[in-house]
Every structure is written in C-alpha cells, then in structure tokens.
Symmetry: D2
Amino acid sequence: MAGSTLGTLLSVTTWGESHGKGIGVVIDGCPAGLPLSEQDIQLYLNRRKPGQSRFTTPRKEDDAVEILSGVFEGKTTGTPLSLMVRNTSQRSGDYSEIASYYRPGHADYTYDRKYGFRDYTGGGRSSGRETIGRVAAGAVAAKILSELGITVTAYTRSIGPVSIHYDRFDLSQTEKNAVNMPDAAAAALAEAHLDACRAAQDSCGGVVECVIKGLPAGVGEPCFEKLSANLAKAVCSIGAVKGFEIGDGFEAAKSRGSVNNDAFCRGTDGGIAKKTNHAGGVLGGISDGSDLVFRAAFKPTPSISAQQQTVNRSGEEITVSVRGRHDPIIVPRAVVVVECMAALTVLDLLMVSMTSRLDRMQAFFRQNT
Amino acid sequence: MAGSTLGTLLSVTTWGESHGKGIGVVIDGCPAGLPLSEQDIQLYLNRRKPGQSRFTTPRKEDDAVEILSGVFEGKTTGTPLSLMVRNTSQRSGDYSEIASYYRPGHADYTYDRKYGFRDYTGGGRSSGRETIGRVAAGAVAAKILSELGITVTAYTRSIGPVSIHYDRFDLSQTEKNAVNMPDAAAAALAEAHLDACRAAQDSCGGVVECVIKGLPAGVGEPCFEKLSANLAKAVCSIGAVKGFEIGDGFEAAKSRGSVNNDAFCRGTDGGIAKKTNHAGGVLGGISDGSDLVFRAAFKPTPSISAQQQTVNRSGEEITVSVRGRHDPIIVPRAVVVVECMAALTVLDLLMVSMTSRLDRMQAFFRQNT
Amino acid sequence: MAGSTLGTLLSVTTWGESHGKGIGVVIDGCPAGLPLSEQDIQLYLNRRKPGQSRFTTPRKEDDAVEILSGVFEGKTTGTPLSLMVRNTSQRSGDYSEIASYYRPGHADYTYDRKYGFRDYTGGGRSSGRETIGRVAAGAVAAKILSELGITVTAYTRSIGPVSIHYDRFDLSQTEKNAVNMPDAAAAALAEAHLDACRAAQDSCGGVVECVIKGLPAGVGEPCFEKLSANLAKAVCSIGAVKGFEIGDGFEAAKSRGSVNNDAFCRGTDGGIAKKTNHAGGVLGGISDGSDLVFRAAFKPTPSISAQQQTVNRSGEEITVSVRGRHDPIIVPRAVVVVECMAALTVLDLLMVSMTSRLDRMQAFFRQNT
Amino acid sequence: MAGSTLGTLLSVTTWGESHGKGIGVVIDGCPAGLPLSEQDIQLYLNRRKPGQSRFTTPRKEDDAVEILSGVFEGKTTGTPLSLMVRNTSQRSGDYSEIASYYRPGHADYTYDRKYGFRDYTGGGRSSGRETIGRVAAGAVAAKILSELGITVTAYTRSIGPVSIHYDRFDLSQTEKNAVNMPDAAAAALAEAHLDACRAAQDSCGGVVECVIKGLPAGVGEPCFEKLSANLAKAVCSIGAVKGFEIGDGFEAAKSRGSVNNDAFCRGTDGGIAKKTNHAGGVLGGISDGSDLVFRAAFKPTPSISAQQQTVNRSGEEITVSVRGRHDPIIVPRAVVVVECMAALTVLDLLMVSMTSRLDRMQAFFRQNT
C-alpha cells in the first residue's frame, strides 16, 4: 500500500521526482517472449513530451528511456523490466521561491502536512513528470495487448466548453492538431479558447476519452475488482483528474431503464452482440465484448501567472503569481497517460481472467506440460 | 485479486448470493477495543432494507445480522470479525424463466461468458443483496471513524432530472422522505418523477453525494494510492455505478485555473484553511483538511416491466418483460452503501497514514512499549 | 496484511475463535466448474478431528461443515465459497482460571501485549481450532489439484526421538496407526514414547513431512515469491511450527556441492529428469518437475499438567498446572493441516504461472474467445 | 504476485540481472525524515562484496550505489527511494558455454521451462548478484530500526561440520575472520575445512544465525501473517536457502513441553520476562519482547570445478565442469543478506502493528492533528 505500486499479476512500481536524478518504473510479471526495444517505449514517451505546440511548456525534456533489465537478446525474459529516464534540463534555481508558500491547487500543502516537509523543486513527486513511469510501463502493456488483438486509443474529448462532434469524428485527425482532438473543426475552436486563456494568464480544464477494442467478454472480477472500478482507480490516480465515467456515465443518472438498457441481439459474426453501448462495455463490472468506453475529467492547470491569494509556511496570507514554464492545459499531453493507465489495468485483469474456469485450466496444463 | 477482498490494513472480504444460504463479510485488521454490538450494525443494514417506501421493492427482507467472531465481552479483539445475514425470504421459483435468457442491463451474459454458467436465481453474486456485506463492514468502519472524530454522510443528490437545491439543503430532512433527499421540495418533485416512471413500467437513475467531515490533512498516498483514486474504485465497485467525481468533478473540466484553484487562507482556528473547496478536499490525492465531497452516478434499475429485446442462451432474439419485485430506482437504498464504501476506504488510508513520518513513529513506540 | 488472508489468485480468509460461535473460511478465486459437496470438505475435517485415538483430546467436536455460498447446482460458480463450522461442545467455564495468568508456551501474553486484552476462552484465535478454516479451504484446493493430476500427501516423519525408516516406508500404513506414521514399527515405538510422556504429565514434539507429486516444472516466481519461500511461510504460519526445510534442508548445510547437486539425466519418458532429489523439487525457487518434498518441525504441546512457573496479569510469579483436555502431541492431527497449507500454496502459484509466457497467453485467448 | 515485490507498508521491489546494465531496488513506504546518504547503504553493500578473502570470488565488483530518488536535502521524503548499482566488471564471454546445457543445482533448467528461454549470462536473475537490491533496501530498514532502538545482527553459525561454540561466542570477532564467525577457534577450523573443499574442487554449505534485539512485544499478526511465517518466507526467498528455524527449531521437535516451554518471570526492569528463550522470541507468531533468534540453512555453492553429469538443451547426457570465478561457500557473504531480509520483515510488521489498538490510534491522532 505504499502508493507507488499498482497491479496484481502485472505489477508496476514507479519512482522519481521532477528535479531528482531521474524518473523510472519497474514492471514485474511481464510475460516472457515479447520483442521489446527502447524505441517501442520512446514512441509513447514522445507523445507526452512538452514543447510540441504552443500550448505545452517550452521546457526541453529529452526523456530518453533506458532499459536497465528484463530484456535479453531483444525479448522480455519474464523477470522485472527496469526503465529509467534521466532528468536533464531541470534547474532547481527556478523553484527557490515556492519553497516558502503553498501554491493554490497544488499538493505543496498536503505533502507538508503528511511528511513534515517536502521536495519543493518542481513539485517533487507530485509533478506531472511522475507520469513518465506510467507511460513507459503502459507502452509495454499496450504492446502485449496488441499481440493479443486488443487496442487502446485515447483522445481529447473536450477542452473547456469545446467538445468534439461525433459526426465529424475522425481518429486519423487526433495527432494532426495541437490539442489531440479527432475533429479538426473542434480543435480549431479549442485552440482559440486556449489562446484566450493564455492571454488572460489563466488555464483551462478538459476531458479525455478512451476506447478499447478487441477485449474479450469475461474480463473483470465480481464485487470490488470490477473492470470499471479498477479503471476508475487507475484513471483517478493521475494527478489533476477529478472525475471518471464509463459508458453514458453521469448522463445515465438522468436516463430511464428503457433507454439505458442495451438490447442484446445476434451479432454479425453469429455470436451475441448489443444494439447500443450505453453501458460502455461492462455489465456487472465484467467486459461484455463491446468497445470499452470511458472518460476522465481534468481540472485546469493549477499553475497560472494571474495573481492568487494563499498563505506562506508561517501561515501569513500573501498574494502570489506562479512563474515558470507551465502548460495552459494538461489534457493534450495527458491523452497518452490515460491510454497507458487503461492498458495496464486491462492487461492485468485479462491475465487474472485466465484462471476463472477449471476446464480452461485443465486444457492449459494438458497442452503446456 | 480474487475480487471480493478490499483494503490493506482494514481488509474486508464479502461473500454470498442473492438466493443462497446467506450473505456475509469478514473484516480483518479491525483495531482492538472498539465496543461493538449487533445493533450497531443492524442500524446500518436497516437503512438499505427494501419495503420502506413505495419506491423500494415490497419484498420482505429481515436481514438480521449475526456476529460470529471477533468480539469478546462486548469489544473487538483485533482478530477477524465475521458477520452474517441469513437469506430468508427468497423463493427460487421466481427465477426459473430468466435462466434461459440474458436480461438487458444485467450481468447474466457476462457471468455466463466468464464462468461458463451462472447462478441465475435472483442475480446470484451480482445481485444488489451483495451490498449487505459492504454495509455491515461499513457500519464497523463508520463507528471507528466516529471514535476518531470523523463523520461520513451521504444523501440523494439527484433523481433523474431533479436535483437538490443548496439553499434549501437540510441534512435533517434526508431520512424524512422516501428518496433520502435533504431538501423537502426537491424530494416531492423526485417522488412525482418516480411515480411517472413506474406508471410507464420504467425506471430511473440518480446521483448520490457524500461528505466526510473531520478528516485530518495528510491521508492518502502519492501516485496510485491517492485518496481520490481509492474512493473512485470503492464507489465504482458498487453495482450500477457508472461515474465518480470529487469536488467540482466534470464541471472542473469546463472551468479555469483562476476559478478552480482554492485560495489558502488563515482558518478560524488559526491554522491554514481554504476559502473555497472546488477540490473536494484533496490536493495531489491527499486530504487537505477540508470536507471531502464526492458523487456517484447510478444508472436506472435495469429490471423493468416494459417490453425489451434480447437473446436467449441459444442466441435467438426474443422479447421479454422482466417480472419480479424490483425497485424503480436504486439510489435511495444505495445512499448507505456509498457511505459505507467511503468509510471503509477512508479508514484504511487513515491507518496507513500513521507510518508516514519517522518522528511520529518514534514517539508512538516511546509511548507504547 | 490483516493477518487472516493468504494467496494472490486463490485467496483464503479465515475467521473464528475456539469458543466463539464458529470457525470459517472464505475462499475467493476458486475456478468455476468444480463439482463440490460438503462431503468433499468433511472428509478432510474429519482427519483433524480430536478424539480419534488415546493421543488426541477426548473432546467431542463434530465440526460439521456448511457451504454457505459459491456452489450452484453442485458446482463452484467462481464466486466466493463461504464455509462454516459451528462450535458446539465448548464450555467456557473451563477457562475462567487461565484468564488471570499467562500459560507458558502459549500466546496469552503476546495477545495481551498486542491488543490490550484477549479472548481467554480456549485460546481464542490462537487455538488449534483456527486450523479448521485452513483445512476446509485446503480440501477444496486439493480437489482442484487432483483434477489437474497433482497429489499432496503428508504424514508423520518423527515423534520425539522416533523417526520413520525409509526402507519400511509404506503410505498405506499412515492412517492405520494412531500417530499417522507410514511405518508400523516406528509407529509402535512412537506410541510407547507418547505413553511415557503422558505418564510424566508431559508432551512431545515431532516432524511432519509432505510430498507433492505431478507438479509441472515452472511453478514459483523468481526472487521473493519462490515456491519454497511461499511454502515456508504457509507452513510456519501454522501454530506450533518452529522450522521448515525443503529437500535435504539443514543436512544440505553440512554437505558438499558434489554430493548435494542433483545430476540431470534423460527421464524414462524421454524428457529431462534428475538422478537424485536433494533439492526437494525446486531449483532457484521454481519447481523442477521432481517430487516436491518438505518438512515442518512442531514444538511439544505447550499445555501440560506438570507444574510450571509463570506470572499472573499483575506480574506476580506463580506456579500453575494447565488443566483441560489437550493432546500430548500436536503432530498426528497436524498432518492434514500441513497438507492443506501446501495445497493452497501450490495451487495459487500454479495459477499465477499460467501468465509467464506470451506465446501461451496468445494460444489461450485464441482458443477461448 | 509478480515475484519481485515484498512487504505491505514498507514495500521493496528489486530488479536486475547479473550481467545486465545494473541491479536496483525501489523502496516505497519509507517514513519521511530519515537522514540517509549513499554511504549508509554502501557500508552494507561492501559487506556482501566479493574478493574480500580467499573464500570469495576474486571478481572485482565495485557495487557503488546511487540514490536516484526519494531523498531531499539529506532526508527521506516519504516517496519512493530508488537505488541502483551499475554492473561494471561482467564479461559475458565467460558464459557462452553454459548457454547450451543445464548446470546441476542451478536454476537454468527451471527458468527455461518456465519462460521458454533464459538469460544465460551469469545466472541472469537467479544470480547471487540479485541480493544487491535486498541489501541496499535492508540497509535503509536497518537504519530506521536503529532509530527505533532495534538492532539486527547476523553471523555464520556453522560451515559444513564446523559450528561456533556458545562459550567462546564473541560478536566482536565476527568480522575479524574470513568466514564471519563470532568465534576465532571455530573460524580457524572452518577455514581449514574450506581449504580442503577447494583442494577437492568442491564446495560446502553452512548456517547463518540472526539475532534481533530491542523489538517490542506485539509485532506480528495472527494466523497467516505471523512474524515467524514472514521471516521464514523472507529468508527462504534468498537463493540457496533450504531451511529456516526459529528458536530451538527442529530441536524443539525432539523436546518435551516441560523443557521447551519458557517460564514467565519478573524481569529486571519490573516488567514480565522469560527465564529461557526456546521459543526464539515469538509466541503464537507474535513477538514476546525477548530476543528474536532464527537460522537459515544454505546449500553448498552449486558451481564446482569437479566433473558433473548433466544434459544439454537437446536432452543429451554430457559431463561438465563449471568454470568461472565462484565462491566455494555462500555463507560468509550471505550473512548481511539474512540480516537485511530480517530488517525488512520486522520493520514492515512493526509498522503494521501500530494499528492494532483503538486507544493507541485515538492518542496518535489527538497528538498529530
């Protein structure tokens, strides 16, 4: 329950602070035989890198990953994968001022209360750089899922008041704009909204949506370890996430049973399918073979240049303006983080589901011993 | 990871099916010395009992709890508490028909796919009766929290389109109406809405809100074991929950940093406080000393008398009307379930937080050995 | 980490005190489709029942098990099995005296120090009756293993100074004598030794040995979750166990590499085998396909009628003689407990091992979706 | 359950192979405020370094540790400590031959069976170098324990047939001889025995003993999470360990209750003490305030130059002589490993024990909020 380990069979442990020597992750329980290179992981890390548009911090972060263990002759060995990204461009001089006060919307105050003091350089462990470990691990999980025919795709659903339109929805557009929206027209509006926020020295929130295709029915455990519950935890463990919903989510709370229930029908492959997917791919917390669809709500970046009121460590009320290089919005760079947390969660529960039936266990051991 | 155990230091394991011999829970790690009687637990179970209004099923369920272990001379001993409620009024004859087909919105299909067959009597393990174990355990957790000065209170925030008004908000009203809303006027509207749903052989969703007062700052772990992440999991593990949000939740995604950030200020007790609580009581996933406020979205009851399309176990498309005694809405009875899942989550993390500082550990062992 | 839950995929949670209302266990993660009746479990419980020979307590304990959940139409459903044995013959009047002092060799003192008070009736949670939950769960695990071609067999290896001779070893003898030794001649000597102990109002220790046949190679995880390490924990968690060894164990510490190394050779089935089994079936903590062989050392029953010195709760030195109905030796009744802990441990790790290779996971999902 | 993570509140995750880029460990849950430098850890790592006597491999391993995260301004922050040792002197050319066959007594065969292939350079993950992570983490745990007044000390109890004499026992001698025995005369005999083993191209086993002083009563949980059970697992998870015993261990199995029971008495400090310590410091699996005393049996080093029979990967029987730089005995370098595994285990359970009593929890939160 030390907070930096997640997962039962596929277990990830992240470490590292914003301005320490580096950030990393250990992935334990990765099945043997997966071809894996640093490039596989780097592609995912590059998606969360700053400096890629005018809406992300101009800080230069190379974030070059090194595989320290667990791969031999190009394949995973089944033993722990240790991945590390050295911090290179951090200047701790930037942060001497914020040591003295509590930034509104940040974890400065709660870390001080919990631990008696804090690493005040760049947010320490509560920095957005902590997600590097999540993304490195998620890249591996996504590759395994892909070998099993399962894809995980996230994108920006909304930025402030601007949402994508489903009749203009086109996943091939997602990475063609600065905000990772699969809808060029909405992306243009969102960019205009962000420019206005920046001009006002302000920041903005948004929603990330994620779709998982190819997941077999039967994944997720009853009661506390529902697939939906584990996704909720994984997603809400990302800094700045304030809400999670699956399928129709909060809209379902306003709906009626006759509308919200998805009718079962014969699928095109002769199997059983659903006519609609208000459920978002889970029934009773277990995957039903439909697309898994969920969303995460991100609050606005708390670091803003506008004046704010707060207190210093002595408890005196002061007015501050948080300087430094900060994104005016978290969402575009968080898309890959959501995708990675989903991949880790789904893969872990998929592995667990292999033991749900005795007949399948018997067949497995007959074939493999 | 077998799905029925939750918690690290305070660990609960539930068991039981709707129409089996009973439902129960084992609570392990409960601190010794808590005065505990069956009545303490029964009061909570009575709050989730059906048959209390015209909006809950007229089934008679006594749900009398028995403490089987862990209490000696009226106090907890520190060893596992085993609590059981015998099932008494279930008639399995009611359910012979639904064995043959998959009810829309239920877990019939996913259990069949996961396990190869299912207990079709009354939903088996995916029945709402599964929450009896959660509530019995939560009653114990709430009592411990109360000894530590912490209270957990949930209520109905909305039913279909009807929401409470915060200027008429009055917690003393919550249990005075059939829908557990702390606003008499909204409750009247909600009851009218439910009557309309019932007349249409339909059902309705809603939102439960929960407030935790008295929680010290510093509870919750960084990274994956954030307080908010664990609350999200606990709440989304309740059957029929489709969404979770803390503080401003999805509204924060539409907001700006200058609005959403809560300014720190001097509190009335001379300590540090926040002028607003958009964050809902967590910063960086760790409690900040403000009220913890979160919400859960419940889908409409899937069992409705109206005609629905589905398939039977042979894959043939059929039309069904789900008979039986079902609530037209889940929310009023789910209020206590949300409260209990919150109590279990907060207590577990509170216990974990005792080890976050070496100086406090040193003081603890100096005093206690 | 509340102490009463064990296992990752197959998870067991026991509860209950010697003189409470009952003893039970919840088994979560049991694969669906196992035919299971109360009789399957009762057969194992009967093997640990007292009153079966002059060396076991004459207390009458019926220990009739009831399956409360998890079985439908004669087969496991995949959801939690709850098993309970009601306590029937306990008279708490027997125990009023021992409330006032600390019995040497018992957990009275440590429970008082840990929890501030204790359930003094019959040892409470530290009673030998706590093993009922272990045995009930182990019976289920052993049945699953048997469906997979794996058998677990324990027996008495030694009692005080009397050990079995491997050239007279005959498993068909094990249950034909009062001490569960697979060697009639040694059993006769052991019975004579026990009679002498009893005449001296004393008790005696012994060793249980366990052999697991049919376990495939590759079970157990590297580093901390070695098969041997998990067996050590499971066995040393049984009350009164003071030592564990696998293969040659402590003898290996006196040996040389040239003797202790097991040479690999061609097996009779054309595969790879070992010429000897000093290792006891594990290399690097992972099963090697040979028989798994390990032993547990049990201390003498601490309850003896002979006079002993101790202190009372006020710290005054006193002399006591522990009355009551106690076995002069723990070992014969512990044989089935060791067997059950081994079955639970091996099955859990066997389930985990299904995910060690990507190619096998791919084949599994191709076949089962 | 991926095998490389251990612990509940203080959780360690190790990674790394013998000939990969490095070896490391992440320690999560370390309380904040501990002064910690690389030197604190290096001192422990130096104790397991090879090349310190003629009985350890002449390989040069610098094993210089780097703290990558979790320390700020010289103190632990409460967030994960990441520690790494780069591998520097490994030449993979040494190992090309052993890729083709299975070394007796090694994990080559079981890794191949489990994972389909293996990292054959220097043993990969099953190498003794894997213990670097354990020792680095253990150094931190030992420092925390020391701040709480608890010391953990291990030494060589026996080498082959040579054991220490308790009347010549002198802990100040332990590090003055090449075999880490606290008895100069026995050490001389042990060295002679090892010289004879080496002359015969053979190796030898031995026993490590460990004593923990200052541990308060009440540490360890009932049932499965006994202190003794967790020590057994931690110790048996060290490669080459074949047995564990606590207190009198296997000797207790030959003893009588009247001898083995430790009488309680008034201690010199006016509290309650024990006249003897056959139990080794645990009763019912919970610490009793006496010294904790346990032992680990190590098998002989499996790598020997003498001719051995085995099979190659094609299953053909061959004769081999394992070349390379190997210790003729594991025990002297394993002393610090046992100490470290004990420190990690005891600290974790000590932290858990803080929540065993409600009155203590109430006092804790009254003081700290």
